[in-house]
Structure formats: C-alpha cells, structure tokens
C-alpha cells in the first residue's frame, strides 16, 4: 500500500514537472538544466540517513559518507553555478 502511494506520488510528480517546464524559453535551457541538476542533489537527504548505519568504519557508513560528499558537491556546485549564470542574464536587464 505504501509502495502504491509512493508510485502515485512519483507519477504525479512527473506530470507536474511536464506542466511546469513545457514552455521554457531557450535562453534559460542551460540554467534550467543546472538548477534542476542541483535539485536532484536532494539525494543528500538519503545520504544523511545512511550515515547512521552500522559500527564505526563499516561499509555502509563509509558508503554513506561518500554519498554525502558527492551529493553536497552536486547541491552546492549546482546552485552556485546556476546563480552565477542567472546573475549574468539579469545584469543586462538593468543596463538597458
């Protein structure tokens, strides 16, 4: 039952995503992609949950720490670089 609910959520979210993004101007394709990529770094929440498994030095824990580090690169790098790009788009608007 829980699984079915999750499946519902998954499918509905895909439809929502389709509606949200269907009309994006080409100017924003790259920032949209890198911003969305940063959001996919949400897997960091899973990584944090994993970091509690097992005893010191166990495989699960080490894998969890790796997951945290990689997900953090994804999140921080993604949001910052997207912001940098979008700042370039905006600075021109003021000049005009």
């Amino acid at each position: 039952m829980i699984f079915l609910l999750m499946l519902f959520v998954f499918v509905l979210a895909i439809f929502a995503g389709n509606e949200l993004i269907s009309k994006v101007p080409p100017t924003l394709h790259t920032p949209l992609m890198s911003g969305a990529n940063a959001i996919s770094g949400i897997t960091i929440v899973g990584a944090l949950m994993c970091a509690q498994f097992g005893a010191e030095g166990s495989a699960a824990k080490i894998l969890g720490i790796c997951a945290i580090a990689f997900a953090t690169i994804n999140v921080i790098g993604g949001f910052l670089v997207t912001d940098r790009m979008l700042a370039m788009f905006q600075s021109k608007k003021k000049k005009k």
Partner: protein, 477 residues
C-alpha cells in the same frame, strides 16, 4: 505512518519550494529567485534531516561534517572557477556526481540492511521485494548517469575525440551489459538465499558502469545537447529511485521533477534536429567536423570569399544585421568580439539581432550562456521561430562557426540526411557572411550549398581574429 513525524511537514514545505523554484526558473525575470527558492528548499531539507530525532541520535557527526565540508568546498570551488565556455563540461560532471551520490545511497542502504544493525523504519514498511527493486534501479540508473556523464565530459572537453567511436559488436556489448546488469539485479532482489547478494550488487554496478560508457561512445559531439539533457533526466530518476529505497516522498518528487524537466529538454533538442531519440542514441551520426573532410562533401564550385576589409564594407552599408553563432564561436571564444562588433554596428543605427538555433553548441542554451557572459542583452537573442520570417528583410547575416543549422538542403532537398530539420533561413537575407576556418562539412558530414550562393561570401579564418579585423576596419571609417 502511525505517529506524525514533524520532519515530514518540513519535507512537504521543501517539496513545495522545489516546485515553485522550478516554475520560476522558466521565466527570465523570475529565474534567479526561482533558483534561490529551490536552494532554500534544499537547505531546509538538509537541516530538518540532521535535527530530526529519528536519525540524529545515531549520526556520526564527525563523519557527516567531513562529508559536508569536502563536498561544499569542492562544489563551491568548481562553481566559482568554471569559465562560461567550460559550462557544458561542468553541467555534465555535476549530473554524473548526482547520479553517483544516488548510487552510493542505494549501496549504503543495501549494506546497512543486509549486514548492519540499524534499519530506518521507513524501509521496513516497503516489502523486501519492492525495496530490492528500488535498490537495483537506483544503482543501475545512478551508475549509468555517472559513467555516461564522465565520458560525455571527456568528449566535451576534447580529452577524447568528439567523433563517434564505433566499437566492434557495440550493439551486442550494449545489450549484453544492460541485460547482464538487469539479470544480476533480479537475482540480488529476489534470490538472496541462493547467491551472495553483495556479489550480485557489485556485478550490477560494474555492468551499469560499462553500459554508461559504451552507450555514450558512439554518439557524436554535435549530438551532445541531447546526451547532456538525457543524463540530466537520468540523474533525477536516480534520485527518485533512491527516494523509493529510503521511503522518502521528498526525494521521489524532487527527482521526478528533474527527470521530467531533463526529458522535456531532450525532446526539444531532438525536435530541433528532426531526429528521434532512438536515432541519436544509436549514434554514429557525425562528430566534430572531420579534419580531412569527405570527398563529395568538400567539392564546391564558385565559392566567393571576402577579406576583413570587404566584409567591413558590406556591414558598413547594412541597416539590419543578424548574427548566427554556432559551436565554432565557442571554440574560437569569439563571443566577446561578436558583442563588440554588435555594439559598434548599433552605434551606427544598425538593427542588430542574434538568431539562435536550439541545438547550436554542445548543450541546450549553450550560445545564450556565452552571449550573456559577454553582456549581449537577451532581448537581442531571438529564437528560431521568431526570427526566421525576418531574414528576407535583413541586409546582412553573419554566420560564425555554424554550418548545418543554416544548410538550406534541409528545406530544399528531401533526400538530404538533414531533410526536415528546422534551420535558420540565413540564405534568404540580402548578403550572407560565413566566418569559418575552411569549407569542411559540419557534423552531418554533408555539403552546404549555401556557400555557393550568389549572396554568400566565405570569410576564411579564426572567428575571433577575423571579427577583430572587421571591427578594426569598421572603426577606421
């Protein structure tokens, strides 16, 4: 589900912030705030996870801090340091790292549940079969995203050739690694008694890694916009699968949103080349412009060439100019000179616009980012549909390092390999200046009859250098 966990309420809030953020990312005016909104959502999700009583107790804070610190410094450094010309590589790399993180989450959950003591209450709710399938899919998609992205990055940065690399028996290898991975995954999820699931899982990871590499190998450099956006979609799907593994709807929703957005971009890119996704993925289509050039592709008659002086005279007489940038502009790093030339022309009351083909460059929106970097106002960047009717009334079109996206064969010759591909109708304008190194064909490997037309002048040379010379000539007058 019995006890209400307040953390879930915050997860719901974070989900809403992601949805709002993505929505706002779709409009130029609101895009920056949209990205920041999504960032706030992410911060909220992380903080809530860290302080939520379910996990805080057993958390090894030192190791978490180390992981966060390493990730933050590397991520921030990459985002600061990257040049705008290196953006396709960075986006590909970040996609891959996101996929890898999801793989590690699934691996860690797997080891934790198989051999560890603690189990999160959520994944007990899911039946072991469903959980196993989610672990397998998360590892599969995540690993494919990782190795595929690394290879795409190597192709984009020129570390390996952008040409399609066709291995012998590649279809067999692709099918074999995928089916092998799925078979091992099936055994790991459903037959844990008879085999050591750890071995199965590691085998699955290896198969997925191989699949990621050999499925991107045959895809040519010019098809990279499709590959990068498809990998973007995969990284979201992987995060979503990781959400099923740990039983967290926030991951499922956020991942699905990214999966959908990546897929939409993929479809837009395919349409802009009038090719199906399958056709792109099978690969073998073109690459970086072949250095030697095929025989028939380079046989041109009556091509007129113009030097910088002549080009400057033509531009001087114009009242309306459209620039068409292509991958060649990115390679020559000519975007700043283009903008200077554009401004010089504008100061002479010339209408200056830029016609941007959706697949120009190596990732979706590549040209827009480069021109934005050199401060071209985005009002001057016109997309294909909006500008195509205006070429007839335009005096001069300047093409910088683009080829197939302006090839009239796509409209006029139904037998052409690129027939039906939407092109920028540069040939309709009064005069066409093509700034290009040589007559070598573009990624489609075919001749461009535009170069032979009466109204077309070839300006052979490096884009940046040639434009600088034109600019100097113009300023002398």
């Amino acid at each position: 589900m019995d006890n209400f966990d307040p953390a879930q309420a915050f997860y719901l809030l974070a989900t809403a912030l992601f949805i709002l953020g993505i929505k706002r990312l779709g409009k130029v005016k609101t895009a920056r705030s949209g990205n920041q909104l999504a960032g706030v959502g992410m911060l909220l999700a992380i903080v809530v996870t860290l302080v939520s009583p379910g996990i805080g107790i057993q958390l090894d804070w030192t190791m978490v801090a180390i992981g966060l610190a390493i990730g933050t410094s590397i991520g921030a450094l990459m985002a600061r340091r990257v040049e705008m010309t290196g953006m396709p590589e960075l986006v590909a790399l970040l996609n891959g790292i996101g996929g890898l993180a999801s793989t590690f989450v699934a691996l860690s959950e797997f080891w934790g549940r198989k051999y560890g003591a603690a189990i999160t209450p959520e994944n007990v709710i899911l039946g072991p079969d469903v959980w196993g399938v989610a672990v397998v899919l998360s590892i599969l998609v995540g690993t494919i995203t990782f190795t595929g992205s690394l290879l795409a990055m190597a192709k984009l940065s020129g570390k390996i050739s952008g040409n399609p690399i066709l291995l012998p028996m590649r279809h067999l290898l692709v099918a074999g690694s995928l089916l092998g991975g799925l078979a091992l995954g099936y055994l790991a999820a459903f037959h844990q008694g008879s085999f050591d699931p750890a071995v199965m899982i590691l085998g699955l990871t290896a198969c997925a890694a191989v699949f990621g590499v050999i499925s991107v190998l045959p895809i040519g450099g010019a098809d990279m916009p499709v590959v990068v956006s498809l990998l973007n979609s995969y990284s979201g799907i992987a995060a979503s699968m990781a959400g099923f593994v740990i039983g967290n709807p926030l991951l499922i929703v956020a991942g699905a949103l990214v999966g959908a957005s990546g897929m939409i971009l993929t479809i837009i890119m395919c349409k802009a080349m009038n090719r199906s996704l399958g056709n792109v993925l099978i690969g073998g289509f073109g690459g970086d412009a072949p250095t030697t050039g095929g025989a028939s592709a380079t046989e041109y008659e009556s091509v007129k060439s113009a030097g910088a002086e002549e080009a400057a005279m033509i531009l001087d007489a114009a009242t309306s100019v459209i620039f068409i940038p292509g991958y060649g502009m990115a390679v020559a790093q000519a975007q700043h000179v283009v903008k200077e030339l554009g401004e010089e022309l504008e100061s002479r009351d010339v209408t200056v616009r830029y016609g941007i083909h959706p697949v120009a460059g190596r990732m979706p929106g590549h040209m827009n980012v480069l021109l934005a970097e050199s401060d071209v106002p985005y009002e001057q960047l016109w997309e294909l549909e909006r500008i195509n009717g205006d070429f007839k009334t335009t005096d001069v079109t300047v093409i910088i390092g683009a080829n197939d996206v302006v090839n009239p064969e796509a409209i006029e010759n139904p037998q052409s390999p690129i027939a039906g591909m939407p092109i920028l109708n540069a040939h309709e304008s009064g005069t066409v200046l093509v700034i290009k190194r040589s007559l070598s064909p573009g990624y489609a490997g075919i001749k461009n009859p535009l170069f032979e037309r009466d109204n077309c002048y070839m300006c052979f040379g490096d884009g940046k250098q040639f434009l600088t010379e034109i600019l100097a000539e113009l300023k002398e007058n």
